[in-house]
Symmetry: D2
Subunit: 351 residues, 4 copies
């Protein structure tokens, strides 16, 4: 099978680097073009990128010349699709211009809440791919845009989905303890975080509150009807490198006992698992029963960074549940989520 | 005025050291005896204690000889009262033996939930001192035991009190991000916490859930009737040295707007403020309106470590409030709380 | 005595904030003007500065209007002298323009190595103030520039001075473990330093090697003759907030024993101590004999951040000495050093 | 080829866990027995060990029953050799008892400086295996003991070896910045190290000074004649998880230029590389020319944790060299070093 030729928009950043990691030896996709800002264009990737991951840049990637982000790279590099993690400030124009011609799988928030744009977690709501024909018609595009959620939203919605399906969801109070990499390499000064916690992440609580209900919503009449769940979020930055930890309080419609909840998490599978997509973790949700897990450093790489780890499941009183969950923010919460969405698109004949 | 002569039981530990800090140049109390385990007894304090606070041990304290914890020190050192931060495993016997003769102000959890023992935050529920005559009668003691709450409970209950009084409290979901010093100097290994968060602290969630309702309860017929509030807690250890941060979701009985809440926090004063007790912070609750406060490193020392700092106050929907609060866990949450309780006891002629 | 009216150039930065701390209630100096870049000018200091120190901005400072850095503030605010911590890139012009009219005490590296500019640690080489008349004549200035050394150099030279005087110095191999604040608030990304050490600080090793020999040099014929000592430095960034720790290997001319070295450090006093200058630490060098001191968090604030703490003194073989020393990099290594230099200038009738 | 059946003495500790990692799927060795203290004996490994490495315990290891450390396990489990990382306090008796029967490859310091015991880095001094017949004769053992050096010594001696061979070595001044794992999981309290550096590690400087000269010595007349190099060491604990960083100043006999040094490091190979031993890194020394490398987090895993990374090579003046080097302390500096020594023993027909 000939691999699809992909481009990475924003290839030198933190998420761009994770895309490179997720796509190494990928069975469907090969990296055809690394695109970044004008400042990087023309340099080799090794010169342009300050590589933050452990180990060296894969050799073949290191030597690639970085292109400037511009739709003309579609023809120049014969691209079949692009992955994007460009800044929100330029995404509306740039991602739109690419989507006129080819599919765009985007990490950037800009299009997420648009009515005709799928906001997809592959295991949770693949049905939002049905918005693609509508999007194409609305916008006159040959390609399309599929977005994945904010890094902390994805890790919350995945465990909420089976709870919702089984017991119903009325409200969620969630406190996040988010890793440094979520802010980008230079996002958090060391002096800000040593011996400290920062109880604020710009825009994050809003994203958690609005993206969650779209993701858990239903497609009705060509539109997503948001789920009727009251989400209240408090976001904090802590001193871990990767892995967003969340303490989640949930009000359910039906009562449950703790063993049921564990069983529901464990049996959960989505379309990616059924379809055995290359990067689909199986199981997607891992339940740990030790009293002190999940922990970011120990659990973030579970399922190659694609699995959610859940622990500390407890019922306080009727219909009131608490658990703690963890997900790798730049893999499951960003690059890996996009790649899985693209794999799913291929499975659904959208690529 | 002659100062009261006090003893510190558990003087070499983390909280013991804070007692020494809180009592330096205290107008009511002077340190008459530093008592610790057999291992330390007979050494000078400087030899016996590994001092963890910045700066050196106060000179006069450094030279004091450490006594072994034993009720005979009451006579030997002519003690008027003791402050205790001894291990829970020995507290029932030891604190009881001291209370037979003199007042004990204790940080240890052992007696907190006993029916006839006050569990007091000086600003919140000084009326629980009315249990003292009952306690004395029940137990045949000349002295008595007054306890203060767990370090994280105190910092939660203080801001809940004015909210309860003004708007009513139905439920609280609280996620703590607790400092390392809460576990004692050797409590958390560095390898456990670097690049990590630990989503578990043994016994802590229970304490938050049961102590809070006793503290916010009412004294009726010589007993505390617990407040009817559903508290659900999730406790986490993060990499800050001091200062427990809490993200608090609250369901109120009456609706409110955010400005009301800020005003209610700001105007709150308790008996210690009215009585101008020496270590009473004024105001006891500080509201910060910057979007990224309170932060442990920047705010824990507010009011000499005795004030609670609150921020990120937000109303999500009807009767649903969120805020973040911070308190110094070894001062306001431990040694300082006991000292303030003793000051209050003196004001109330109980010393 | 009327206080001298001072300006702070670069008032909003890390060192600027320390200047404000060092000058609060100073007996000689009062803050007349806070000057910063155009971006800050016109705002109150509270609006302009992101305050990084614990506690709040002193009230009177918080309300001051920030001026733009420009020599016209000399007249406008009636300034007697300025303290400077402006970027090196603009210092030659800007500090020069101020020095035409009034004395400048500078933290910036630009003028340090100029032949006619004193590079002074008040305890070590006050004789370099004799360069001032030469500087004035050379440059036609009414004011003058006095510089203090790089933050890590100061903490090295202070303990080297008594060793040199007593035993002679032939070579020094020094490895620094420098605090985050040395790079400025945004200088080190948290992702760069968590679970890590960075074995490089731009320009720092050169500064240690060239400034040290000028500071320890002799004034001969109106010029500083550099000391003939071979300095070799290796600079590392570690995860402490404040306090540069140095591991120092020294080759001496005369042999010694460890007790001699301790005694030499302990008896060392400089002109600031003799003159009892307001911020002079006494003693300037503190020797700690515990095997695990000095430590940045425990010892950096010794002498209000102005004392050097030395420990781990050991003789390996003939004329070969090792010790570890610590100094507060933004107080003794920056703002405090400048303030002490200005106090010395006043004592020497240069103000 | 039938694999040799090995035992791990001290299997539940930090180094024991690394042994398990290093021996997974090893071509020569299979884990026949996991031995630990009485407290662990009888439990499954999963129950007995608090696993600190990322990922889960290998399945087959998790289920193994832990034996008590006792020479009778040699017969019981039919062991061909053991790897040891037991406490020094019991090593003389225990390792000796095992060595009476079978080879022991030990991380423990106890036997290292004995005249007839090889202290070996496989690339540096395999000739010390010639001490084995002498050791057997002296002690009447059927087995033998081979030791590897202290974790920080190994990472120092490896890069010193080619420098010594090419330019001669006169003196070394070395400052270490050592990772937390070097002290064992509970060795360093979090409160000790947050916002701090500890300039002391018990016994470590001595080990660096005495082990280095034995390792770089020559075998003459059945004894190791120590190298005549003056080593002076200063050891510090910093907040990295794994990877000891060292800043090294070296006095050579011959002069050199920096390019020569780089070339000498790069071309260095030892017997393990020639013999293509399974875990021998190739090259054993990696030179990085970026100005800010090596860094613990980025470079410790080079060569599967078995390579030394060197950088910041600089000549200050005639015959005076400086470089920074990094090695993984629990792999190259402990478990991996022992395994490589055992592979070498097999190659040399000593197994």
């Amino acid at each position: 099978m000939k691999k699809l030729n992909i481009g990475i928009l924003g290839a030198t950043g933190m998420v761009g680097q994770r895309f490179i990691g997720c796509l190494e030896n990928h069975p469907y996709f090969q990296i055809g073009c690394l695109a970044a800002s004008e400042r990087s264009a023309g340099k080799t990737y090794k010169e342009a990128a300050k590589w933050h991951l452990s180990g060296d840049i894969p050799d073949d990637v290191a030597k690639m010349k970085v292109a400037e982000i511009d739709p003309k790279i579609i023809d120049e590099y014969d691209l079949d699709l692009v992955f994007s993690s460009i800044p929100a400030s330029i995404a509306r124009d740039v991602e739109g211009a690419f989507a006129q011609q080819i599919p765009v799988f985007s990490n950037t928030k800009t299009y997420r809440m648009d009515d005709d744009v799928p906001l997809v977690i592959a295991e949770v709501n693949p049905e939002q791919y049905d918005l693609i024909p509508i999007q194409r018609e609305n916008r006159g595009w040959t390609g399309y845009i599929v977005t994945n959620g904010n890094c902390s939203t994805i890790g919350l919605v995945l465990p909420l989905k089976p709870i919702m399906d089984e017991f119903g969801l009325e409200w969620v109070n969630v406190t996040t303890m988010q890793a440094l990499s979520g802010a980008g390499y230079d996002g958090v000064s060391s002096m800000a975080i040593v011996d400290n916690v920062i109880p604020f992440i710009g825009g994050e609580e809003d994203k958690l509150e609005i993206e969650t209900v779209k993701m858990l919503g239903k497609l009705e009449g060509g539109k997503v009807k948001n789920a009727d769940i009251d989400i209240f979020a408090s976001c904090n930055r802590v001193q871990s490198m990767d892995g967003h930890l969340k303490s989640v309080f949930v009000g359910t419609t039906e009562d449950f006992d703790e063993e049921d909840v564990i069983a529901v998490f464990r049996k959960f599978r989505g379309l990616p698992q059924e379809a055995k997509l290359p990067t689909a973790p199986n199981p997607p949700i891992i339940v740990r029963e030790e009293e002190d897990r999940p922990q970011p450093r120990l659990d973030r790489d579970a399922g190659n960074g694609m699995a959610i780890t859940v622990g500390r499941i407890r019922r306080k009183c009727e219909r009131k549940l608490k658990f703690t969950c963890l997900s790798h923010n730049t893999i499951r919460g960003a690059a890996g989520a996009s790649v899985l969405n693209a794999e799913l698109a291929k499975y659904m004949k959208l690529l």
